[in-house]
């Protein structure tokens, strides 16, 4: 029986090519996106599955309230917690502390390599499912200054040589002996460091001042992560009780001026997708992103399903007789229902095949990430999910038409008295068309806004210079020596040393300042720069002077601030600020030497906050070289030669500041992603409309013929046939314009500097959609209206 249904489904597809094409194209397009999302979602949910007792393992998180009454839920917890849990409570089989501060450069020969690691204890290998390729998990992390490297890190540092027993030399955190190499983990984990050193190394590092004193400090919650593997018979509530006791024991309840911490548990399985706790580790996507991707994909899919529903209902007149005949021959309603569901499932499985092809193409031959691309291989399980998913889609898409079709009364059908209005198809159909076009228009308006905002962002004058400036790293050595050497290269106009590039996210530093007089603390951003910083960046001094050429390198004396800073110091004019003393981080006092005009030192999403330029040679990371020559190749060669002369054996990496800014802050990715989605949803809606118009005009062909014989003109007929659809589009516009406006406003809220949406965006988007819809409608109605009436009328 089922086979017969499938056979009929195929024959129907072949007979109804337009119907099949519209449905399969739309479904396949949206399914492609769905498959991408399915893949990436599966990945997001596959974290931390390989640990031996994942269901009994918990991470301890901290609900922290600061002195100012601000509240943070931190993924981290105080370092002494692990020992208390181990010693004072009998609930844990194992406890492990992970202290993620082992990051910095490793020096090996002449190479300097950044390594991101953590300190941890031997129980690490009992709580988590990581294993060692070489080395003994029981002892590898026992002795102070031992380290376990990931395979990748070992290869990066030591190349292909034997690694066990070698010494890893951290630039700022001492030496470690390699006691183990991690085997590649069997799955993804939120714990993903390159290196794990023994936690027993920490006390010595704290004594030597290489690490801050935190191992016994209950008030420091940064960077320490505590995991508990409960004994098999211990319940979650016992853990919660223990944590409540510990919180009471070590913290006062929060009150005015008193910060506090309450400890909580988080199951290992719920760490990824990330709940966006502060300080969280790992690179799982946040729940918001996972859900947004799912919503977008389902939205697209539902639009495609609407096409199926609509077209099937429009086409039901053609199928009505078949239903009647089947019922007269003894078919029950559910049998007819099942037949139509089978047809839609067949359609969806065909679309799935196409979607998988498109997925493979998209992943292998394009770089158009819609943000969901995961690069995961498709395994058998995933394929099963794809199949389940497409069958479910088939049922979803087919359920309404199948219900409507299977409800036909044979007596009515066989008397040719089926009226499409009989089962509410018309209202439903109109609704679905309106929904599709509403979504489509909303998406178009949103896209235009996103595009315009990013174009605006690119053209935005951030208030500093970015052209003809080459950034080169300042790896070692004295910045002044480097500057002097580079100045000799032909074509160099000026050079500044700086801590980072203006305008790049997270390049600015932050520090706490306090005025010497009233003691108000505040947080400001800063860049470290030398006496040429203002000149190279073309920042405008409003009052005071630049840094003097001769300044102490060890003792900060002067600071340059922006207008915002002057304002937050409650000073009237920039010149009032000159000479004012400021405490930096409670440790050193400097005086304001200059005030510069406000400029966007952070990306323009953020408003301009108080900031400062400081002269801190320790924090200089790069030289920014302003050039005055057209021959960039020769200049680059000169600079490279000079740089290599001072950094023998290292690789030179120079980058143009304007390129870097473009790469890091342009909206290429989001714009192209949104563009693809908009294109898809519009194509799907337009195809659906095309199909519906085509079928309904087909059913009205006799009416058209009669009207023509009576003398109706083509344009009049086109208008007659198109009018109803145009009304639907107008209705969709009415709903979508405010909706799109709201969505766009929501998006623009991200930006402190933003465009206004304006009449032309809305009108233009609507006009574009109207054109597309008109094309779909008129192409069909025109054809019907200009056909020869004799052909139609003779046929019956």
């Amino acid at each position: 029986m089922l086979l017969r249904y499938i056979l009929i489904a195929f024959r129907n597809l072949r007979r109804q090519r337009l119907f099949a094409f519209i449905n399969i194209a739309g479904l396949a397009l949206s399914m492609t996106v769905c498959l991408m999302v399915l893949k990436s979602t599966k990945k997001e949910f596959s974290y931390d599955k390989f640990h031996p007792a994942a269901s009994r393992t918990w991470r301890i998180t901290s609900q922290a309230t600061t002195q100012e009454g601000k509240h943070y839920h931190m993924a981290s917890s105080p370092l002494p917690l692990a020992n208390v849990l181990r010693q004072d409570y009998a609930i844990a089989e194992d406890v492990v502390s992970l202290y993620g501060v082992l990051s910095g450069n490793v020096i090996e020969g002449k190479k300097k390599l950044p390594v991101n690691g953590a300190f941890t204890e031997p129980s690490f290998f009992r709580v988590f499912g990581f294993s060692l390729k070489s080395g003994d998990p029981a002892t590898a992390l026992s002795a102070p200054n031992s380290i376990v490297l990931s395979e990748a890190a070992a290869g990066k540092i030591f190349g292909n040589t034997a690694v066990m027993g070698k010494v890893v030399h951290f630039e700022k955190m001492g030496d470690y002996i390699v006691t183990g190499i991690l085997a590649p983990p069997p799955g993804l984990s939120h714990i993903d460091y390159e290196a794990y050193a023994s936690l027993s190394s920490v006390p010595a590092l704290e004594q030597q001042g290489m690490l801050p004193n935190r191992s016994q400090d209950w008030n420091q919650v940064q960077d320490g992560y505590t995991y508990v593997k409960l004994k098999p018979d211990v319940s979650k509530s016992s853990l919660a009780t223990a944590l409540a006791f510990i919180s009471q024991r070590f913290y006062q309840p929060a009150a005015k001026g008193i910060g506090s911490i309450t400890l909580e548990q988080q199951s290992l399985g719920s760490i990824s997708p990330s709940q966006e706790l502060y300080n969280d580790i790992g690179n799982a996507s946040p729940w918001g992103k996972v859900l947004a991707a799912i919503a977008v994909a389902l939205g697209l899919l539902i639009c495609a399903c609407f096409n199926y529903t609509n077209l099937s209902i429009v086409r039901s007149l053609q199928r009505a007789r078949e239903v009647g005949v089947r019922k007269v021959n003894g078919a029950l309603r559910w049998q007819v229902f099942l037949q139509f569901i089978t047809e839609s499932v067949v359609m969806c499985v065909l679309s799935l095949v196409l979607a998988i092809l498109m997925l493979i193409l998209a992943e292998n031959y394009t770089s158009i990430g819609i943000g969901f691309m995961s690069g995961e291989p498709v395994d058998f399980m995933l394929f099963g999910w794809f199949l389940v998913f497409s069958v479910a889609t088939g049922v979803l898409a087919g359920i309404i038409p199948a219900w409507a079709l299977s409800s036909f009364q044979p007596a009515k059908v066989l008397r040719n008295m089926v009226d499409i209005k009989l089962f509410g198809g018309l209202g439903l159909r109109k609704t679905l068309i309106v929904i599709q076009f509403t979504l489509s228009l909303t998406a178009i308006i949103f896209f235009v806004t996103v595009y315009r905002q990013f174009a605006y962002k690119e053209a935005f004058n951030m208030g500093f210079s970015r052209d003809n400036i080459l950034n080169v790293p300042l790896a070692d050595g004295d910045f002044q020596l480097m500057k002097d050497r580079m100045m000799q290269v032909k074509g160099v106009e000026a050079i500044t040393a700086s801590s980072g590039t203006l305008g790049i996210p997270r390049h600015s530093g932050f520090l706490q300042v306090k005025t010497a007089t009233n003691g108000n603390r505040m947080q400001i951003g800063y860049y470290a720069g030398d006496a040429d910083f203002l000149k190279v960046m073309q920042l405008k001094l409003l009052a005071g002077t630049d840094f003097p050429r001769t300044m102490s390198r060890n003792q900060e004396q002067y600071i340059i601030v922006n207008e915002q800073m002057v304002k937050s110091l409650n000073l009237k004019s920039p010149s009032d600020a000159i000479g004012k003393a400021i405490w930096l981080s409670d440790s050193s006092m400097v005086s304001i030497i200059g005030v510069i005009k406000d400029f966007n030192y952070q990306p323009i999403e953020v408003p301009i906050f108080p900031m400062a330029i400081r002269f801190v040679p320790d924090q200089f990371r790069q030289l920014q070289i302003l050039i005055n020559t057209k021959d960039k190749d020769a200049l680059m060669a000169g600079i490279k030669a000079a740089w290599l002369e001072m950094h023998p054996g290292q690789t030179f990496t120079g980058e143009w500041m304007s390129d870097l800014l473009y790469e890091k802050t342009s909206g290429k990715e989001p714009v192209s992603g949104v563009a693809i989605l908009v294109l898809m949803i519009t194509v799907i809606a337009a195809l659906g409309l095309l199909g519906v118009v085509s079928y309904t005009t087909f059913t009205r062909r006799r009416e058209i013929g009669v009207r023509k014989v009576m003398g109706a003109g083509v344009s009049g007929l086109v208008l007659l046939l198109s009018r109803n659809y145009l009304r639907l589009i107008a209705l969709a516009g009415l709903i979508a314009l405010p909706l799109g406006y709201l969505a766009s406003q929501l998006f623009l809220r991200i930006f402190a500097n933003r465009i206004s949406i304006g009449f032309f965006t809305l009108a233009g988007s609507f006009a574009a959609l109207l054109c597309i819809a008109l094309l779909a409608i008129i192409s069909q109605t025109w054809r019907a209206a200009s056909s020869n009436p004799v052909d139609v009328l003779r046929n019956d």
């Binding site: 029986m1 017969r4 009929i8 024959r11 129907n12 007979r15 007789r321 078949e322 009647g324 005949v325 089947r326 019922k327 007269v328 021959n329 003894g330 078919a331 029950l332 049998q335 009364q409 044979p410 007596a411 066989l414 008397r415």
Partner: protein
């Protein structure tokens, strides 16, 4: 076999109602070949639909094989459709997407028959109607007469007790009509199938052994 007692049928029209059948009494015995005749719009098709359980009478009683139809549930009715009643239509009403073979097989699909049983039954019917060579063709590849033969084949394949035919030759040339009527006669005489046909043709009516005249919703003597 079939007993109608005071059957009425009306459709709502605007605020009033349109009486199609009025107090129809009719008895048809097993093995009869009845022709229903009457002018257009007189209610012939309506009567046939009521006989075939496709429509329900507005009033009156209908007994099929001694059982009251209005007391039957949906399941029982479907069973009658599957087993006891076969339909033949003026417009053939074959399913375009199915081949001749599959069209004939349709009623069997809804009875729980095994594949081999279905095969042999369809093969028998094809054989009997000399259509073995055409079994893989689709309806639009057949002439009208051939299509109606398939329609009849489909009606009898499930071995019904009664065949209801609504102007089975209405769309056919008189030569083809003759073939169809001969076939009905044969089915009636050899297979003892009760046949009730609606027809406009006096010639066709002569094949049967009883004629019912219907006019303005009344059966005439």
């Amino acid at each position: 076999m079939i007993q109608l007692q005071k059957i009425s049928k009306h459709y709502p029209v605007g605020f009033g109602k349109n009486e199609i059948l009025k107090d129809v009494d009719l008895t048809i015995e097993e093995g009869e070949f009845v022709s229903i005749m009457g002018p257009s719009g007189s209610g012939k098709s309506t009567l046939l639909h009521i006989l075939g359980l496709l429509e329900e009478p507005s009033a009156g009683q209908y007994l099929f094989q001694g059982e009251r139809v209005d007391k039957m549930n949906e399941k029982k009715r479907t069973q009658l459709h599957r087993g006891a009643i076969g339909f033949v239509f003026q417009a053939y009403h074959l399913i375009d997407e199915l081949t001749v073979y599959e069209n004939i097989e349709t009623p069997l699909l809804y009875k729980s028959l095994s594949g081999s049983e279905r095969k042999s039954k369809v093969a028998d019917v094809l054989d009997r109607f000399n259509m073995v060579a055409k079994k893989d063709l689709f309806p639009n590849q057949l002439s009208g007469g051939q299509q109606q033969l398939v329609g009849i084949a489909r009606a009898i394949v499930a071995e019904p007790r009664v065949i209801l035919a609504d102007e089975p030759t209405g769309n056919l040339h008189s030569d083809q009509a003759k073939v169809i009527m001969e076939l009905f006669k044969q089915l009636n005489e050899q297979d003892k199938i009760t046949i009730i046909q609606v027809t406009h043709s006096d010639l066709n009516a002569t094949y049967g052994n009883r004629i019912i005249q219907i006019r303005d919703g009344h059966i005439q003597g």
